[in-house]
Symmetry: C2
Subunit: 338 residues, 2 copies
């Protein structure tokens, strides 16, 4: 408590119109304040950059409120407790929580999840964190693939997509990814994708026909928009669409266009489209983490991460992430691992 | 065989542009032809009018081919075998099959389903036929309502919708219907709907808010389009959309607009949208029919039917059906019950 609570933070200086730019952020030094009962003081180590937070700049969603100018940019982080206040959390405890883009944060202990690292701490933010768990539960519980199925993965080089593809491959599926560059496509092929489509260079519909000749059994959709339309037209009878996100709708003010195949193709092909939120599976996170960790330790899962140093880099790294610049899970290092 | 095989039939004289009109049909006398091996000659009694067939005039679907000018208008029918040919079907057997809009049809015996009437023969075409079974499997197997759920039914006065509403009510749900006239709304209220919205007179979104204050748990969608958009915005977290049809898209040449809430709201509200085709449940039809029949006999299910006399009336009755003119299952009587 005290001096250490003051620290740098990234605020949203203005809500964006159209695409987000770095001009909508401001790096400022936060005000000090005393810990309230139940709160602890945390020192941020790693911040997670998540495209979905962009949506909060347009009015929020059903599961959290919208953002306003002057707010600290929200984001999950891994941190170390530096002052446990009157709570049971000891200084030095590593925790995960929604701390925002700041060096220090006073947070209710109840809102923090203590973590026990297994391997590099950063894995807690990628394959063993929310994006890895999203891939795990979305693919296995919502998509329910069977061996031999063709699984199509959108944003395949993204934090979630690359794990979905690797898990599907482990599961005995044929895996086709969609990504935005040849370099990423090459990396994905090396992690086990059977085919990768570069959506910026290739004609989506003809490539989907070529790589999914018997249709798509499971489409893991983090994107929505035109790719969803193209996939709906290519789904196999009885196919499942795992609705994980709507990347194509986040970084814009424009209203969503709407999925053309709904409900027409959904009926004729007996499709199931199902949305999910990984927080709903909280009770099953431990066993999923155990599974994923064991695959990593056996060398059966490649971990793709980008760790960018410095809180001041967060705005540019985030704007680039929204444009699809990342390969794997992108995070910001604010302090070294303890 | 022989003379009796010639009879009147309704052909599609031209594929429609825009809305279907009676001018696109022609009543002609069909050509005679001898029965082929495996075929029987049927005399049509009742023809089912189904909006979904309109879609076949624009190129077909995944589960059947498109129509061309000169084709007999397709349609399911109940008929009596008048010549069993060399098959095991005895003359006098009542059968159900896709005979088309004609008085006599030579059909493969394998494509016919012998029926054992229970109550009026017309029930085999309505509550005990495909529309009743569609309501049964769509609501119970796809929508999986729980007692206390709010169930919203589109095209609630339609052949399927009115049964969905009554079954949901039996199931302990609060049932809200959407229909196109005050007269229909009144009939639906009398069959047990808790509330009915007249979509032509009332503001959909505000009425949905009023009648579904805690959101929609199950939306039985036979319509798509704007009603689907409005319902997606009003779904409860974890809600299910039973994708049964796309009435709003059948009687037009225009491309579907697309469902705006897909995938955005599907993710944030963890919705499930699932399409189905009643033919896939064929193995379970007998027990469903038994259930429905027992409810009718106990006076717990109101049967809504419109039986219009004369094959020559079929085109006008069908055009009006597409405009939402029917109350319950509409069919054409071609011959008296045997």
């Amino acid at each position: 408590m005290g001096d250490s609570q003051a620290g740098r933070e990234v605020q949203i200086s203005a809500l964006p119109r159209g695409r987000l730019t770095v001009d909508q952020f401001a790096l400022v030094t936060g005000a000090r304040r005393a810990l309230r009962p139940g709160e602890v003081l945390c020192r941020t180590i790693l911040i997670s950059l998540d495209p979905v937070n962009r949506g909060l700049m347009r009015g929020g969603s059903d599961y959290r409120g919208g953002l306003r100018a002057g707010d600290v940019m929200p984001g999950f982080a891994i941190a170390e407790v530096v002052d446990g206040g009157e709570t049971a959390l000891e200084p030095g405890t590593l925790v995960f929580g929604e701390l925002g883009w700041r060096e220090f944060a006073a947070v209710r202990a109840d809102d923090l999840l203590p973590i026990a690292p297994r391997g590099p701490l950063s894995h807690q933010m990628s394959v063993l964190g929310l994006t890895g768990l999203t891939a795990y539960f979305g693919l296995l519980e919502v998509g329910r693939p069977e061996a031999g199925d063709t699984v199509l993965v959108s944003a395949a080089a993204g934090a979630t997509g690359n794990v979905v593809g690797q898990l599907a491959q482990r599961h005995g599926c044929r895996v086709v990814g969609v990504t935005g560059s040849d370099a990423k496509a090459e990396v994905l092929r090396r992690t086990g994708f059977d085919a990768v489509i570069n959506r910026r260079r290739e004609d989506l519909r003809s490539e989907l026909r070529r790589h999914c000749p018997d249709g798509i059994d499971v489409y893991f959709d983090s994107v929505g928009g035109k790719l969803l339309d193209a996939c709906l037209a290519r789904m196999a009878v009885g196919g499942r669409v795992v609705c994980c996100g709507a990347l194509s709708e986040y970084d814009t003010d424009e209203a969503a266009v709407g999925a053309r195949g709904v409900p027409g193709l959904v009926v004729s092909k007996r499709l199931r489209l199902e949305g999910f939120v990984v927080l709903d599976y909280r009770d099953h996170w431990p066993e999923a983490r155990e599974q994923i960790a064991s695959w990593i330790e056996a060398g059966e899962l490649t971990v793709l991460e980008e760790i960018i140093d410095g809180l001041e880099q967060a705005p540019a790294a985030y704007v680039d992430l929204l444009a699809g610049g990342n390969l794997g899970k992108r995070m910001i290092r604010v302090a070294p691992d303890p």
